[in-house]
């Protein structure tokens, strides 16, 4: 890539970043309008939308990350983007990747969350197109985000010669590899509570399981403390509305978890505790399953392809081992699961 190519690609991103910055400004008319529309489409509470905009929308990515994003993105004749509907800020990164790939970008938003792409476009007119259908041709690239089922469906309809970058289903986990001092633990769990609560846990980066390298009794204490943090956070950031199907899943999970072990109420959600090896994936809606593991990194090996993000607290050497076990997942600190560096897709599973 020549410097000229790089600069041309870099220049295409600026209007998008400016659009995101103006959206994040809640004092402007545009910012206020965005908040109303996003609350209506996402189902998050008004506070949940604000929390997500302030914590997760990248309004000032640093140049090193932007350079990495551009250099890791292949060029396309036309870049197509199929957005998922669960994490509205994800549209920003997805469109940035597409703009790094091509000067011609077509975006199809999710029917569930059609607003963010439109809002970004309104602040960066002509940067990209929002379309109802994508029809990529040979030589084009498609970045698709959504469930594995959607990815499989899309793959079967693609014309030959279209390169697809599929980011399918996944989930996040957190590993507490050594129990720190009480104050450290409180800070870690407060961060994890934010990771859980953002987007009401609907993102593929959202943690659903916490592994703790400690005895069962200590794990129970951690679980209770995490439930307290979630409850505290909910006072500031209430959970949004959930459809009956999600509430039904939560009722089923709660009773299953009661049968398996202890369950702590955590505001509107629950923190469940299992025995070592008792993996349970709670439904979204601010629920997490906590279990002890003497070998938490090894315990993740079976789930490697599904892991998008691992929050880790422990020795640096162990952190590296975790990265090798789940190469498709970002490894980060507690409280940073929903804010991966702006250097490419949110997970590494397409790398």
């Amino acid at each position: 890539m020549t410097d000229f190519d790089f600069e041309a690609r870099r220049a295409r991103l600026d209007p998008l970043f400016e659009s995101a910055r103006s959206l994040a400004d809640g004092t402007s008319e545009r910012g206020r309008n965005a908040r109303q529309r996003l609350a209506a489409s996402s189902g998050l509470s008004a506070e949940g939308v604000e929390f997500a905009l302030q914590r997760c929308l990248e309004i000032a990515p640093n140049e090193r990350e932007i350079a990495a994003l551009i250099r890791s993105t292949p060029i396309a004749r036309v870049a197509h983007v199929l957005l998922a509907g669960n994490v509205f800020v994800a549209a920003h990164r997805a469109i940035a990747i597409a703009l790094a790939a091509s000067s011609e970008v077509r975006v199809r938003a999710s029917r569930r969350e059609p607003e963010m792409a439109e809002l970004l476009l309104a602040g960066a007119p002509n940067s990209f197109q929002v379309v109802h259908e994508l029809s990529p041709l040979a030589g084009d690239r498609l970045w698709a985000y959504g469930s594995d089922e959607t990815m499989a469906d899309v793959a079967t309809t693609l014309a030959s010669g279209v390169a697809m970058h599929a980011h399918g289903s996944g989930f996040g986990v957190a590993l507490l590899d050594d129990l720190r001092s009480e104050s450290d633990l409180e800070r870690l769990l407060a961060g994890l509570a934010e990771d859980i609560a953002l987007f009401d846990q609907r993102g593929c980066l959202s943690p659903r399981v916490l592994l703790v390298n400690a005895a069962q009794s200590a794990v129970k204490t951690v679980a209770r403390a995490l439930a307290d943090e979630l409850e505290k956070l909910e006072e500031r950031v209430p959970r949004g509305r959930l459809p009956p199907e999600e509430l039904s899943e939560i009722a089923k999970y709660r009773d299953t978890a009661h049968f398996l072990g202890d369950v702590f109420e955590a505001g509107a959600g629950f923190v469940s505790v299992g025995d070592a090896g008792s993996w349970l994936l709670p439904p979204t809606g601010r629920n997490i399953h906590v279990l002890p593991s003497a070998e938490p990194i090894a315990a993740l090996a079976s789930y490697g392809p599904l892991l998008t993000c691992c929050a880790f607290a422990g020795e640096p050497a162990r952190r590296q081992a975790l990265g090798r076990t789940a190469p498709g997942a970002r490894v980060c600190r507690f409280g940073e699961m929903q804010r991966p560096p702006f250097d490419g897709p949110v997970d590494r599973r397409d790398a």
């Binding site: 469930s147 989930f171 609907r202 369950v263 994936l281």
Partner: protein, 371 residues
Amino acid sequence: MTRTARSDRLHEVVRRFASGDGDHSFGEIALEIAHFQREFSPGFARLCASRGGSPSRVDEIPGVPCDAFRLTRVAVHPEAEDRLRFYTSGTTSGARGMHAMRVTETYQALALKFGRAALLSNERAHHVVALAPLLDDPPTSSLGHMMAMFMVDFEQRGHAQVRTGDRWLIGDQGVDLDGLQKAAERAQQLRETLLVLATSFALVGLLDALDGGTLPLPTGSIVMQTGGFKGKTREIEPAELRTTLARAFGISEAQIVSEYGMTELTSQLYEATVPGSALSRERSGSPGIYAEPPWLRVIPVDPTTLEPVPSGDVGIARIIDLGNVDSAIAIQTQDRVRRVEGGVVLLGRAAGAPPRGCSLAIEEFLASKPQ
């Protein structure tokens, strides 16, 4: 009294209740079993505690979600006391649940009593075949075990050979059309009726193998179908399947009876359609209405609150099964049901939370879970 002695006594009470000469009501027995399980099953005790403690009415007994059977052991007794272990087929996910039984006599007594009432129309001996793979030894499928029991009991031939290839008519090549034809001819010669026990997907496989042809069964024969399609074949609407099967077998639609059972249950429900059967004399026999045996009760509950819904409303089925003495007296399913005169109507499985983007669904997770 020890756990084992209490369990044995409860089994005896349930069997007596089923035979009609017990001293206790359904509610009394259900609550006694619930209290017994609360004492000896820590998981059930926690579930009860989450509802405020000990249940005092049948509809207060919390249902153990079927998922629990896939994730942990649901039994009041240790593994060493298991006499049978039945495994679920896994439905759409790969994880299999297990229902352990310490006492098999209760299962046998209940399954046979209601099976006879639902499937046998008179005193004539039946020849019984199954559109199912040869039963494992020991049996791991509750359905296969029940089919084998029906073969022995309904034919009344003493020690009938059950594990023979001419009775289990699903092989490596699929449905054994030839085998079923021979069984039908043999029954015809002996002036017996044929009872064909089958899963819905096996019956669809049979229809596909017949390719529009027919395979007439002797007059008075019965076809028992059970279960869903589980993604194994094309799906056919129940009414269409019934009509097509009746035409293919040359029998009336009333002679095709659906059974509803689950590995997690001890007991079964049936449509009361078989002409002349004891069940059809007692209940209204419309297709699609599943009659409960006296020792089982279906309570439709709200899927989000898990509280019983008003009579006639649709809910998900919580099933109180007195046969589940040593496992879970109440099972919480995701099957949508509505109570009607004569039983319950099954309305399909409640939709799980729709996938919202890339967040992993629970079924996908269970499918990937190491066994």
